[in-house]
């Protein structure tokens, strides 16, 4: 049977039409942000420059695509319709009359749906891993920069140790199927996931230790919520079965956090060393505040500008790392729709078919570009103050 095709113009219109929930959400969010930009602080200032608007637009686009993935994509990303194998963009699927907008890949899956679902994997793992890396880096970087001396020497040595590993080698060693039979990923997860709990406990303790009414509520929330997520992620024994992560995803997650936290550590350490010489820190010291209060409530808030910029860049960098993992077939399942795996599959067949390769590459590139533009614009805005 001959496969029917629709023309290029219909493909473009059809694709734009499939993204309708994204456009509505984008118009709402961008409209509201634009109307109230004077009151939105740093976020509002982003809308003053073209670069900032472009960055916000691209990031929100992928965010909403990830949220509405099931509505946008016409097909299941793993479903194989054998008649659609290697079809060119615009092929019509005979039974449902739905369209393979970007064609089919070598396993007859819809390239468009896979690209849309791929955004989910990236937008869950990359920001979450960056968040954990920030926690680890901040919790270790603050004391290293503030106290200096032996702690600094030891922690900096460890950070340089990790940074001296070429990333790719680290991944080949840490993300292999074999390593999941050993306790190493779980031990590392157990260690890394402890940091947010420690961070927030100390944060609240130092601030509210003279106000037990607030302190016990906040500490209680931190410990219960943190402990619940901790048990669910590290031991996969969430009593309510809500928090769950696959062992291979946990492995990737841990490896990415491990690879990017030394970078955060270095930045936080440098910023702390710079800020601790300021007058307000000396004033706090004279008041007799505890070192951890000074670190978390005097130094950290004043280091937020460069840290936010770095976090943006780092999410992009983590996306690239995830793509690298997918490209080498490490960790993620072979049929997983994430962009890296899709690029790997498509790049092997580039001589015969180019259409499955382009959507994931452009998706990954545009998302990282959006984050970089956002970071650049944030940097510019924070320099103005």
């Amino acid at each position: 049977m001959q496969t029917e095709y629709i023309n290029a113009f219909d493909i473009v219109v059809g694709v734009l039409w499939r993204f309708w929930p994204v456009w509505i959400a984008l118009i709402l969010v961008m409209g509201v942000s634009f109307a109230y930009k004077k009151r939105l602080g740093l976020y509002g200032q982003l809308f003053d420059s073209g670069v900032g608007i472009a960055g916000v637009f691209i990031c929100l686009f992928w965010l909403f695509t990830a949220i509405f993935a099931s509505t946008i994509s016409p097909f299941d990303p793993l479903a194989q319709v054998s008649i659609m194998k290697d079809t060119l963009p615009g092929a019509v699927e005979p039974t449902s009359k739905l369209i393979y907008y970007f064609g089919g890949d070598k396993l007859a899956r819809d390239v468009f749906s896979r690209m849309v679902y791929g955004s989910q994997i990236v937008l869950i793992i990359a920001p979450a891993a960056t968040g954990f890396a920030l926690m680890v880096g901040i919790t270790l970087g603050l004391p290293a920069g503030y106290y200096g001396g032996r702690i600094d020497t030891l922690l900096s040595f460890l950070a340089n140790l990790v940074l001296a590993f070429p990333v790719i080698l680290l991944f080949y060693l840490l993300v292999t199927p074999g390593i999941m039979d050993t306790p190493i990923p779980y031990a590392m997860a157990g260690l890394f996931f402890l940091f947010p709990i420690i961070f927030f406990s100390v944060l609240f303790w130092t601030r509210f230790k003279n106000r037990p009414d607030r302190l016990y509520i906040l500490l209680g929330i931190t410990l219960v919520l943190g402990g619940w997520i901790y048990v669910g992620l590290v031991f996969d024994k969430d009593p309510l079965h809500i928090v769950h992560i696959d062992p291979n995803q946990l492995n990737i997650f841990v490896a990415v956090v491990f690879a990017s936290s030394p970078g955060v550590f270095r930045i936080v350490r440098g910023l702390t060393m710079d800020i601790k010489t300021r007058d307000y820190v000396a004033a706090a010291q004279t008041r007799g505040e505890s070192p951890w209060y000074i670190m978390l409530w005097e130094i950290l808030p004043n280091a937020r500008g460069p840290l936010i910029v770095d976090a943006c860049l780092r999410i992009g960098y983590t996306t690239i790392l995830l793509g690298t993992l997918g490209y080498f077939g490490l960790g993620l399942a072979p049929e997983s729709p994430d962009w890296g795996t899709a690029i790997k599959d498509a790049s092997r067949l580039l001589r015969s078919f180019i259409h499955p390769a382009l959507p994931p590459t452009i998706a990954l590139m545009s998302f990282v570009l959006g984050l970089n533009l956002l970071a650049d614009s944030l940097r510019e805005q924070s320099m103005k103050d």
Partner: protein, 344 residues
Amino acid sequence: MLSFIARRLGTMALTMLCLTLIVFFLINLDPNLKKLAISQTEMHTSAEQLESWLVNHGYRQNFFVRYGQWLGVLPKQPITDPATGKPAQRFSFCNDPVVPTFSGVLEGDFGCSTKFKTTVSSKLFPALGATGLLMFWVLAVMVPISLLVGILAGMREGSRTDRTLSVASIASTATPEYVSGVIFTVIFASWLGWLNGSAASASQGLTFYNFTLPVMTLAIYGIGYIARMTRASMVEVMTQQYIRTARLKGLSFGSVVVKHALRNALIAPFTVIMLQFPWLLTGVVIVEVMFRYQGFGYTLVEAAGNNDIDLLLGCSLVSVFIVLITQLISDVGYAFLNPRIRVQ
């Protein structure tokens, strides 16, 4: 200065020791050894046969003893054949000692590659040579272009040239090698047909046709980053007093840029270029796999994929060494270039 370098070299040696120990530990995890045994023996071997293969080939000795032997601080004991009681060879393709000898990395013996069935040195060093060639061309393309872009952008901050070039640099840093590689191959190999999408034939002879795509792909990711650093440093220099003085003296803008600003603006990019090497290493792995170029990155992937213990250790030693030595060069070079920095 000398004591500074000596101290740095000491730290470097310690770092390498720690890192190789970690790598050694991770490669020799039990599942990895099992995988090696399965790939090296015939199909359908029982668990006991796998275990005895591992014992016979010396993989079941004490961990630290094996690390010491690999390093060359403990003597390698000859492997005895249980049937004859005489020293036997583990692998047909490389020689094991017949009498206990110190034969490790420190003595220049990198061990045997189980994947390529040869000694590690005879596989690793030609591959490094091939990658060196690739790196040379990448740097030859990347450094002049990125410095030029950075200087042009930073010369007049906020101008249209600056904005265009800055966005272009941001775009290039957002394009990892596996993305630009695919896009370039689609454009230049599939569509236009100007260049070859595979560099497999480059091992026999480099041509513009088979080598441009790998070099281009590898260079593009670094260009943006170095250009942005150069721009930042150029912008800073251009606001200095001595630049204003030179302008007020009546010198032309071009000669101020070339004679006064350039030298001072190039100190920071030097460090950045040096610290770019660890990134280039990852890029090299991706590009060599993508374009099938038989260099260091390709060897590393093959070694890791097949759990080739000695070869992977050799690869990690080399890559860690490159990372650390470039860090050292960047620090020392920075102190030399910048007269304000004095190492105590």
